[in-house]
């Protein structure tokens, strides 16, 4: 039976707080943009942009990043990642980029995302926002803004379900089935 770690209200509160933190740390929204990692991160980035607009009354650019082309596990995975669109319709050079993902785990996706961003230009800096940090890092990567820290074991998975994907907003902790 999966355990619900966050419900709709928890997610909304976390995003509102993170939006405030992002504005505080960056002293406003000047030269700031959000880039979500396909797919969950893209929805969260759009919501954060709306939260930031509600607070600061400023529009903030949002892009989406597909990291499949930069993965380090293509020749060991059995299932091939689907190539999605990367849509960053603005020049990233000299911008402060807040990278947004749903779950931070090994850090390998973030490494891939940083490489992908660097190929688009030379950002002023890259910051990281995640809804869930579940630990077990395999690379020296740390999030700047975290919705919730959740200690997990390796035989568990964290699933972020969002209403944009047709479900309802919640975060679930599940046991991994053997052989899955």
């Amino acid at each position: 039976m999966p355990k619900e770690l966050m419900n709709r209200h928890d997610i909304n509160r976390a995003l509102t707080r993170i939006a405030h933190e992002i504005i505080e740390k960056n002293k406003g929204t000047k030269d700031l943009c959000l880039v979500g990692i396909q797919r969950g991160g893209v929805h969260l980035a759009k919501r954060l942009a709306a939260e930031i607009k509600a607070i600061e009354k400023k529009d903030i650019a949002v892009g989406s990043l597909d990291i499949a082309l930069y993965r380090d596990d293509l020749n060991i995975r059995k299932k091939q990642p689907v190539i999605r669109r990367t849509e960053v319709p603005f020049e990233v050079t000299d911008l402060k980029i807040v990278l947004v993902d749903d779950v931070l785990f090994t850090g390998r996706s973030i490494r891939a995302a940083m490489d992908a961003l660097m190929d688009l230009g030379r950002p002023a800096n890259i910051q990281l926002t995640v809804l869930i940090d579940r630990g077990h890092r395999e690379l020296p990567i740390k999030a700047d803004f975290v919705g919730k820290n959740i200690p997990t074991s390796l035989n568990e998975t964290v699933e972020v379900q969002l209403k944009e994907e047709g479900g309802r907003d919640r975060v679930l902790l599940k046991k991994v089935k053997r052989g899955a």
Binding site: A68, R71, L74, K79, R85, D119
Partner: protein
């Protein structure tokens, strides 16, 4: 994921597999529009261009596609004059595989050569044109271009004009476009449209004026001038007069018709410069899309562990 390790022809692909290739190509086209037109996706892989027939554009397109994916690529030149028999052909390919090739891109004047290699090699085989059989990546880039220009393929009326009989491009296009739900028409002289192709869910026209009515997309084929004087058509001038596309003729098609050509063009024969360089032409975009589509094919074949 594609079901097999090889791309031999469109005939062997399902509609879902074709759509997967086209969707994947859209992601790669984004890469081609950037300052840094290269991704590390297939780093450490090796592709070999094994061309037994002369080709500049297709070979260059594959070479560039491989390089954009960070794959090492080698052009294995084969003397075009020598007739390569079954045994020595497989030996050549096995040698290329032993050199470390993960992908072998093959063009050969005999139909079925890629299929033969597919059975004998572990490496992924990509058919870059075999005899009069198929040229699958050309059809895929044509479909990608149509989808990009028209937003869809299903329900469109698409005409292919010219030497259907000797054209592997035409054959691959017919398989591809009919599988995607387009209404395909063939236009040309009876001598250049073989009987068996009429079985392939296509309509056949022997007049440009009739065939072009209501057409959304027009694919002009290159007339192979070496076919002249072999009884297929009386002369180049006569062919051009009856089957060449001109502005007057194009007026019979839909106003937003898109004109494509696989290249190289015979300007003034099958297509006038006015059309080739005009607002309906997407011929140069086809070239760019070719790289994206070939990157997608290489990624889907070599970017996964196959057990």
């Amino acid at each position: 994921m594609l079901k097999t390790k090889d791309l031999l022809g469109i005939k062997e692909l399902s509609r879902e597999e074709i759509n997967l290739i086209l969707d994947t190509a859209a992601g790669f086209k984004d890469v081609l529009g950037r300052d840094i037109k290269k991704v590390p996706t297939l780093r450490g892989r090796t592709a070999v261009n094994l061309f037994f027939e002369p080709s500049t554009r297709t070979r260059t397109s594959f070479e560039l596609a491989a390089k954009r994916l960070s794959t090492d690529v080698i052009n294995f030149s084969v003397p075009t004059s020598s007739v390569v028999k079954g045994e020595s052909l497989i030996d050549t390919a096995l040698t290329v595989q032993a050199l470390g090739a993960d992908l072998i891109i093959i063009r050969h004047s005999s139909s079925g050569v890629p299929h033969l290699l597919s059975k004998n090699l572990r490496a992924s085989i990509i058919n870059a044109g075999d005899g009069t059989n198929e040229h699958p990546t050309q059809a895929l880039l044509d479909a990608f271009t149509v989808k990009e220009k028209k937003g869809k393929i299903e329900g469109l009326t698409i005409a292919i004009v010219g030497d259907i009989a000797h054209s592997r491009v035409a054959k691959s296009n017919i398989y591809c476009l009919t599988k995607l739900g387009a209404k395909v028409r063939l236009i040309g002289p009876p001598t250049l449209i073989p009987q068996e192709i009429k079985m392939m869910r296509v309509a056949v026209f022997h007049s440009m004026e009739d065939g072009l009515k209501e057409v959304d997309v027009l694919i002009m084929l290159r007339i192979q001038t070496e076919r002249q004087g072999k009884g297929f058509f009386p002369s180049i001038e006569e062919y051009s007069k009856n089957w060449g596309i001109t502005s007057e003729r194009l007026a019979h098609a839909r106003p937003d018709v898109v004109v494509m050509h696989p290249g190289p063009m015979n300007r003034g024969i099958e297509i006038t410069s006015e059309i080739a360089d005009g607002p309906h032409s997407v011929i140069l975009e086809q070239v760019t899309n070719g790289i994206a589509v070939r990157m997608a094919v290489m990624y889907l074949l070599a970017g996964v562990k196959r057990s």
